[in-house]
């Protein structure tokens, strides 16, 4: 048969059995779309984690009290020698590869001011905190060295806190009470959004570390130390130097374990992306299952219609079709259905991804490789199960094909 006729016969056959064609294509459509969207969600989550970690700070090094083994589990045993401002001073004096260092004194509590009250996270830091954490102010100013020395009762509000306490007014210059201690608002931080764990970065109040220690906590221990290496290439040396300084500050003998833990941004990033890679793999397996289910759907429809189709093949053979005519017709049909189903599936996936990105907080990035894998897998299943039963029937005697039930 001529190519033109072949195409015509195949297309006619597809259009003639609309329901069968639709169901066959539907299996492919759902399989393809599910795989692409699932993996896109995984990729989106991974990219979001990476972005958020990048926004944590520049060339960040974090020092925690206590030793944490490489698996990330905090060891119960061993002395926990907590950090004080002295440790921060030591680092500031001796480290040569750092852009800056700041203590982080973490606490929380009820804040009253403006039109209401709000429970939030409070962090005591030093003056170079913004630079280290890659953050900026949207209005007002940050506290100064003088405020640090005088333990000034000044506070910088995260956007969420500012919105909660002063929905209509400019917070700058206003009085607030943190745990009943009066503070003056001097600045508002630029919005930063959610962190890796989904918590709100902007739900925070920043104050001088000295003020938080003295006036809110009445203690001397700081939660952890954050430092910023001068450059990304020097981050490992800076980290090694920090370890030496801290060991000396804590009077550790050679051979004695560190009583603190140092992590740099690369390590933190890796740990977090590993988590999200697990998520991606998980989603991809779910997607793989849906592809297989879709494939089984295609297969079932093809096999269910095999009786009808075997008789059709018998009729065609009995009026003079060659085996090859039948094979080409069925191959054309299943390729056409697979391509159509695959294309619609890809379009559907793009549509769903677009909706996710535009209208939900779920980021999704389509991976071209996955598009290729999904389409070819579904295509191969569609073509195989469209073609294989036809091949069997086309090799029968016409009369056996006609008699098939």
């Amino acid at each position: 048969m001529e190519a033109k006729n072949l195409l015509k016969v195949a297309l006619k056959s597809i259009l003639k059995s609309r329901m069968r064609s639709l169901l066959t294509a539907l299996g492919i459509i759902i399989g393809v779309a599910a795989v692409i969207v699932m993996v896109a969600i995984g990729n989106g989550a991974q990219k979001k984690v990476e972005d958020q970690i990048a926004s944590l700070g520049s060339n960040l090094i974090v020092i925690f009290p206590g030793s944490i083994n490489s698996g990330g589990v905090r060891m119960g045993a061993g002395s926990i020698n907590r950090f004080t401002m002295k440790d921060v001073e030591k680092i500031r004096e001796e480290a040569t590869l750092l852009k800056g260092v700041t203590p982080i004194v973490r606490t929380g509590g009820q804040v009253i001011g403006g039109s209401g009250n709000w429970n939030t996270r409070i962090e005591g830091v030093s003056t170079n905190y913004l630079e280290i954490s890659n953050w900026s102010l949207s209005s007002g100013e940050f506290f100064t060295e003088k405020d640090m020395i005088s333990r000034a009762k000044v506070a910088v509000l995260g956007k969420t806190v500012a919105d909660q306490l002063f929905p209509n007014d400019d917070p700058i210059g206003q009085q607030i009470r943190i745990r009943n201690v009066p503070f003056r608002v001097i600045g508002v931080l630029a919005p930063k959004g959610q962190n890796v764990m989904g918590a709100d970065n902007d739900d925070i109040i920043i104050a001088p570390a000295t003020t938080v220690l003295d006036r809110l906590l009445g203690g001397r221990y700081i939660s952890f130390i954050m430092a910023s290496a001068s450059s990304l290439s020097q981050i490992d040396q800076a980290q090694a130097q920090l370890v030496e300084i801290m060991r000396k500050a804590h009077n550790l003998n050679p051979g004695e374990d560190n009583d603190f833990t140092v992590r740099n941004q690369a390590e933190i990033t890796q740990a977090a992306t590993e988590t999200s890679q697990v998520l991606t793999i998980l989603l991809a397996s779910v997607a793989g299952v849906s592809l297989i289910v879709g494939g089984i759907g295609i297969m079932n429809i093809m096999l269910v219609s095999v009786t009808e189709r075997t008789r059709e093949i018998g009729i065609r053979l009995s009026v003079g079709a060659r085996t090859s005519d039948i094979l080409i017709q069925f191959l054309t049909e299943s390729i056409a259905l697979s391509i159509a189903g695959g294309l619609i599936g890809v379009l559907l996936a793009f549509g769903i991804t677009f909706i996710l990105n535009e209208y939900t907080s779920q980021a999704a990035y389509i991976n071209p490789q996955i598009v290729f894998i999904a389409v070819s897998f579904a295509g191969i299943i569609g073509i195989f199960f469209g073609f294989y039963p036809a091949r069997k029937a086309a090799n029968l005697n016409p009369i056996d094909a006609l008699r098939y039930e």
């Binding site: 048969m1 009808e308 009026v319 079709a321």
Partner: protein, 255 residues
């Protein structure tokens, strides 16, 4: 009887077909020698299971014999390749089945076009026109866009006959073509076959009913896979006349 070239259109020599069902061998036809000339109208008769369909399928190149030879128009079919076999089905034979075997959800016109699609010898430019022409010959020109499910049994069988005619074969084979039809429709179909035979087409058909067999010119009777009788019909009936009689009876009943 001999055709113009003096050659048998069908000639079987010691033709046998044995089906194997599991370990059991079922001999369906046993060493059949049958010669049919061009222009003949043969009715094959016999009890159910006597091998009529098996013989027809072999003659129609829908099945292959276990042993023996079959010459179609002088061609030894046992020497043919699969594709040549397909070409013979397409070019030389029109086969009409008891169960019509039309493509479902496909218009009468497209069903009739089907053999043209597989015709490699003559590429017809306008298959629809050709199909319409044969549909007109079987009196179905007003039903060409109907699908099988929208047609009566008699009409479906006409479509099947039109399909068997479309490649202008010299031989039409029909296995119980009226087996599913009532007697008036059956007589109409026989009238059509007689008309085609008058036009020079060789016709071999299977029928159960002796009354219908008398529309043919020759009867071949099978029993247990063998030919037991083969004779010319002396008191041949003409289907067109029978139709008139039926119509008169109907008018009389109504009155």
């Amino acid at each position: 009887m001999e055709n113009a070239s003096g050659k048998n259109i069908i000639k079987t020599v010691d033709l046998s077909k044995t089906y194997s069902v599991g370990d059991v061998e079922v001999p369906a036809i046993k060493s059949i020698d049958l010669n049919i000339d061009g222009g003949e109208f043969v009715a094959i008769m016999g009890a159910s299971g006597s091998g009529k369909s098996t013989l027809m399928n072999l003659i129609g190149c829908l099945d292959t014999p276990t042993s023996g030879e079959y010459y179609l128009d002088g061609i030894n079919t046992s020497k043919l390749t699969k594709n040549e076999y397909a070409a013979i089905r397409n070019q030389k034979i029109g086969f009409v089945f008891q169960g019509y075997n039309l493509l479902a959800r496909t218009s009468a016109l497209e069903n009739v076009e089907l053999p043209l699609m597989y015709d490699r010898a003559h590429r017809i430019n306008n298959p629809a026109e050709k199909a319409l022409e044969v549909l007109r010959r079987v009196g179905l020109e007003d039903r060409i866009h109907h699908e099988p499910s929208q047609l009566s049994g008699g009409q479906q069988q006409r479509v099947a006959i039109a399909r068997s005619l479309v490649n202008e074969p010299s031989l039409i084979l029909a296995d119980e073509p009226t087996g599913n039809l009532d007697s008036k429709m059956s007589v109409e179909i026989f009238a059509l076959f007689q008309k085609l035979n008058d036009e020079g087409i060789t016709i071999v058909l299977v029928t159960h009913e002796r009354d219908f067999a008398k529309f043919a010119k020759r009867i071949v009777e099978l029993k247990d896979g063998r030919i037991i009788k083969d004779y010319m019909i002396k008191d041949r009936l003409y289907a067109q006349e029978e139709l008139f009689k039926i119509q008169e009876e109907e008018i009389a009943e109504e009155a």
